[in-house]
Symmetry: C2
Subunit: 425 residues, 2 copies
């Protein structure tokens, strides 16, 4: 069995959002990248096989970032006191233009990908830029890193600066080119990516919906991020019932697997629609505070049974990786609870579930160590003193709150150990 | 001039909270640890002296953390879903007890100090534990590191677990012992530290106030952190006009230089009193969210002209260093502004001022590079690509938002370069 992998350590994961599954000092067996089981000793049928022993380290599923912009990575933490529109005009759009320069694109996307891998984000749903050639570079870079991702060329044919806005035809053509080139890739796949409703003519939205159906591709976009944006959308699409309806009527909302980032200000009809069409709604807490959008009503959505994932939303969010997103999601939920006791704060297990199995289910069976799941994993090393003092769950919580890429000493995607990463902040 | 230091680089600091002073490619001259000036070329009178050239790096004042608990460091990020009282009982108090074991104290305080230095906190006001001998160890450890600090043995003679609560007499005696031992130290000095009003009998408070006056020592404590606490204080001190009054009437509120952490729920009389007695109020944003206390009305206090510093409040706060505190202070101020447009969000310059010159003034002339200030400084290295793309102010903002101890390549306290630190998260 050449694709047999046996890993020893302490395994922690969330089968449900209720609680952690904790397997202390156990052996996980993975065959062909798929978890076979977790055992107290190596089962007889695998006896003699080599064991990768991680000793007292924690082993957890890799993180899944359901929303971020690769072309904005270099801009993380810059212009953060600007309002959304100034931030876009003074920083973001100019930087996005640079990705038409393929040398720059390769350099910048390599930084992005290295940092992402370093932080333990092993699956992600990424907005590239409107440049088809630039987006092609991102596919190539991510393939080289060996991580899983959905990558979208950003579609926009109106309401943006000329230098990154394409014609409807060119936008659809480029999208189709990338689909055909990458649709059969095992790890890094295309996703239909209208920037957001205001950036797209109805013709473009219709064309994208058609491609989604034709190739059975997933869709990602932004929805209801802030109040001014929602008003603007209403004025642009007067016949639409609401913001969600614009995507829905163009086959971009649940007809295939769909991700909608933010979804802060959904009205009642939109909430019902979300229940019916079952998109992944992405909570991006840092971004939502940084650009002063608001707070997603996460507890309400969870109570309704909506699917919630987490997003760093680089570069509205300023930190790569899901640690910050998990912590900030809890912190915001605590602030909400200060004003309304019925809205219980999120637990560590709940945000961990969002960052692993919850968001991971967009990719299929990822984000858990249950039998049949892809073995995407991070090996976490903490200080000896801490390890002696605290329980495994406490140590994991401590990593989430205070740890960073230096604590991640190994990364597995579908059973394959990635090469070590040297990362700078 | 043996104590002459000339440093070259880009200098950024805040003389006022209004804006950054930016000196690109300049030479800073420091004599005997005190800034002489910043010059475009080396002045004639210093010609021939060696220049420490930091090239394209940013040089900023060291950070000042006005409130944190050294004995809680190992617990950072653990038990964060607990409510305050459970958190104290299940984690904090047990850990504080360990500091009676001096071997443990040395090990744990060394981790604490290394991390603090690594993160660029060069001045701080620290709660140790109630153990006199343990606190003595912390003094020694900090002296070895060469950083500036006020260190307080934590005074408590009631309403705490037996194993860390002392008799009034013993608490005062230990305090006096430490005062006499360390009062003439140049960098690491004693500070009177009643844990908070409920932990102290009136006799203890009175005795501590007496010591503060007798030795002209500064005072630090907690004030009005959360609503339940404020109610409890009212029931314990029925004759007190308000929470602040308890400290005031015992010579622990502005009679000597005073720090009060949190100060979230001050009533109108207390606000007036704060204006009059001029304490440093410490904003600890992460802690205030983590333990679900609330949000300090920072903009209101700044408008009133109150002195505000920043605190990591380890381990109510989970991250060492002031980067997180600055970012979270801005984020919280943005959330506040969402509900009240008149309360303008904090700017980068404002939080940077709090983290440097604002808080630094508790120590005298620190936290700025104006002539006559102590040269406490951090040298910040960022990525070449970033340096080419962004202005000096953008690069500093980026460091604040996304950087960590790895970006700090040198640290100066009063003109002396500290030894390099190897730090883990």
């Amino acid at each position: 069995m050449s694709n047999l992998l046996i890993v020893k350590g302490h395994f922690l994961y969330t089968k449900t959002a209720e609680k952690f599954e904790v397997h202390k000092d156990m052996f996980l067996v993975s065959i062909d990248g798929i978890v076979e089981g977790i055992y107290p000793t190596v089962p007889d049928r695998f006896k003699g096989a080599q064991v990768q022993d991680y000793g007292d380290r924690l082993i957890i599923p890799g993180f899944v970032d359901l929303h971020l912009h690769a072309s904005q990575f270099l801009q993380c933490g810059v212009g953060m006191t600007k309002q959304l529109l100034d931030w876009l005009n003074d920083y973001t759009f100019d930087l996005e233009r640079e990705f038409q320069n393929l040398e720059f694109a390769r350099k910048a996307y390599s930084c992005f990908a290295d940092k992402m891998v370093a932080c333990g984000t092993l699956r992600s749903c990424i907005f590239a830029s409107s440049s088809t050639a630039g987006t092609e570079v991102l596919f190539d870079v991510l393939k080289e890193k060996g991580i899983g991702a959905y990558v979208g060329k950003v579609n926009m044919d109106q309401n943006g600066p000329d230098f990154i806005t394409e014609t409807t035809e060119k936008s659809l053509e480029g999208t189709k080119y990338l689909i055909n080139k990458f649709k059969d890739e095992p790890l890094v796949k295309p996703i239909i990516t209208p920037r957001f409703a205001p950036s797209c003519s109805t013709e473009l939205l219709r064309g994208l919906g058609k491609l989604a159906l034709e190739y059975q591709l997933p869709v990602q976009s932004h929805l209801s991020e802030n109040i001014d944006e929602v008003k603007w959308v209403q004025s642009l699409f007067e016949s639409a019932k609401n913001y969600s309806d614009i995507y829905l009527t163009n086959n971009l909302y649940g007809q295939t697997k769909t991700i909608m980032a933010h979804a802060i200000y959904l009205d009642d009809d939109e909430k019902k629609l979300a229940l019916k069409m079952d998109p992944f709604l992405v909570h991006c807490p840092d971004s939502n505070i940084n650009v002063r959008s608001g707070i997603m009503p996460v507890r309400e959505y969870l109570n309704m049974g909506l699917k919630i994932g987490l997003g760093s939303d680089i570069a509205g969010g300023h930190k790569m990786g899901l640690n910050e997103a998990m912590v900030r999601a809890i912190q915001l939920s605590k602030l909400v609870a200060l004003n309304d006791e019925e809205l219980q704060p999120l637990t560590i297990a709940e945000v961990f579930y969002m960052a692993t199995k919850g968001g991971g289910s967009f990719f299929g069976k990822t984000g858990s160590f249950e039998k049949g799941f892809l073995f995407d994993a991070l090996v976490i090393e903490d200080d000896n003193m801490i390890a002696e003092m605290y329980s495994l769950e406490d140590r994991l919580e401590k990593f989430i709150y205070t740890g960073d890429d230096r604590n991640i000493i190994a990364r597995y995607v579908e059973g394959k150990c990635l090469s070590p990463i040297a990362s700078r902040t």
